[in-house]
C-alpha cells in the first residue's frame, strides 16, 4: 500500500512538495559543500566539511526514499534525485548561489541550517509518522551542524579585517535570498490543518528570525530582509546550479539505466 494513502489528495500533493523541497535542499547544499573536499582551509576542516556534506546527502537520500513511497509512480530515490532537468529541482533560491569563498559557504550554511532547524522543529510532532520518525533522526545530526557553522560564523564575524569583510560581503550577496528556505509552499494550509507541520510559513519565518536575531545582533551583522519574491522562491534556477547539476549527475547520465 502507498504510504500516506489515507491522506486527502490535496494534503498528499502538498506533502510530496514539502518532501521534495526538503530533499532537494539537502541534496543541493550537500553537493555544493562537497566541492570543498581537498581544498578546505585546513585538513581538519576539510574532513569536517566533507563529513557534513555527506550527512546532508544521507538526509536527502532518506527524504527521497520517503517521497518515492508517497508518490508511488515507479521511480526510486535515485531516479527522483538525478533524472530531472535542472528546471525540475525544487530547492530554495538561497542554494542557487555558487559555492564562492569560505565566507560564502559559512554564510550560506548558517542561513540554511538555522532555517532548516526551524522547519525540522515544526515537523518533530508531525501527524505523518514516517516523516516524524525520520525528522527525529535528522535533527540529532543537524544539532552538530548548527554548532559547527555557528562557531565559524562567530570566528569570521568576530575577526576584524579580511575575515569579517568577507563574511559581510557574503551576507550581502546571500541575505536577500535567505528567507527562501521557509517561503510558503503551495497548499501549505492543508499540511497545517492535517497536523503534518506545526505552523505556516509566516510563523516559521518569525521563529527563524527570533532565533538568528540575537546571534547576528551580537556580531553586529544585518538581519536578512523579507523575501522580495516568495512566489519564485524555489523555481527559475541559476547558471551556477545548472553547472552543479551537470557535475552531480554526470556519472549517472554516462550510462543510463545501469546498476552502479
Amino acid at each position: 500500500m502507498t504510504i500516506g494513502a489515507d491522506l486527502v489528495p490535496a494534503t498528499r500533493n502538498a506533502l510530496s512538495l514539502l518532501l521534495l523541497a526538503m530533499a532537494d535542499d539537502e541534496f543541493v547544499i550537500g553537493f555544493s559543500d562537497s566541492e570543498w573536499t581537498g581544498i578546505a582551509p585546513m585538513l581538519e576542516e576539510d574532513v569536517a566539511m566533507s563529513s557534513l556534506a555527506q550527512d546532508e546527502l544521507g538526509h536527502a537520500q532518506a527524504l527521497y526514499r520517503l517521497l518515492a513511497e508517497v508518490v508511488d509512480d515507479g521511480r526510486d530515490a535515485d531516479a527522483i534525485a538525478y533524472d530531472r532537468p535542472p528546471e525540475g529541482y525544487y530547492h530554495a533560491r538561497l542554494l542557487d548561489h555558487p559555492r564562492g569563498d569560505w565566507a560564502d559557504t559559512i554564510a550560506r550554511r548558517y542561513l540554511y541550517d538555522t532555517a532548516d532547524a526551524i522547519r525540522l522543529d515544526a515537523l518533530a510532532a508531525s501527524s505523518f509518522e514516517p516523516l516524524r520518525d525520520l525528522v527525529g533522526k535528522i535533527r540529532r545530526e543537524e544539532r552538530y551542524h548548527l554548532m559547527h557553522v555557528t562557531a565559524w560564523l562567530e570566528r569570521l564575524g568576530g575577526s576584524p579585517g579580511e575575515p569579517r569583510d568577507r563574511l559581510v560581503a557574503a551576507l550581502g550577496r546571500l541575505a536577500p535570498d535567505a528567507a527562501s528556505v521557509l517561503a510558503p509552499l503551495p497548499n501549505e494550509l492543508s499540511l497545517v490543518m492535517a497536523g503534518v507541520i506545526e505552523g505556516g510559513a509566516d510563523e516559521l519565518d518569525a521563529r527563524w528570525r527570533s532565533k538568528i536575531g540575537p546571534v547576528l545582533g551580537r556580531l553586529e551583522l544585518p538581519m536578512p530582509p523579507a523575501l522580495a519574491d516568495p512566489a519564485t522562491a524555489r523555481t527559475g534556477h541559476s547558471d551556477a546550479f545548472r553547472s552543479l547539476w551537470g557535475e552531480f549527475n554526470a556519472v549517472r547520465r554516462s550510462e543510463p539505466g545501469v546498476t552502479w
Binding site: 585546513m42 585538513l43 581538519e44 576542516e45 574532513v47 569536517a48 570566528r155 575577526s159
Partner: protein, 106 residues
C-alpha cells in the same frame, strides 16, 4: 589581524562505557571549541567512540628524561619476572583445604 595560531590538541577516546580512555591521535585547531569539533570528525564520526577527551598538547606535562626513566644500573630485581607464583599458590591452597575459586561466584 593575521590568522589565528594553530595549536596541537591530543585526543583520547573511549570505545565503550567502562573502557579506559586511550590516546587516539591529535588534531590541529585554533581553539578548544574547534578542536572538539575536529576531534569528533576524526575520532567519532563513525560511531567508534562514546566519549572523547581533548587536551591542549601544551598542557601535557612531559617526562622523557632517561636518567629518570631508563637508569643505567641493573634493576631486574624490581621486575616480577622469574618469581613464579603458581606452585606456591597451589601449595597454599592445599594447606588451607579451599578449592580454587571459579569465576566470581562464591
Amino acid at each position: 589581524m593575521g590568522q589565528p595560531e594553530l595549536q596541537a590538541w591530543e585526543v583520547f577516546r573511549q570505545e565503550k562505557e567502562g573502557d579506559p580512555m586511550r590516546h587516539g591521535g591529535s588534531v590541529m585547531a585554533p581553539d578548544a571549541e574547534l578542536a572538539v569539533h575536529y576531534a569528533r570528525e576524526m575520532f567519532g564520526r563513525r560511531q567508534e567512540s562514546v566519549r572523547l577527551w581533548v587536551v591542549r598538547r601544551a598542557d601535557v606535562h612531559d617526562l622523557s628524561d632517561p636518567d629518570l626513566l631508563q637508569p643505567p644500573l641493573d634493576r631486574s630485581f624490581k621486575k616480577p619476572g622469574g618469581y613464579v607464583m603458581r606452585d606456591k599458590l597451589a601449595a597454599a591452597r592445599e594447606r588451607s583445604g579451599r578449592p580454587k575459586p571459579r569465576g566470581t561466584a562464591r
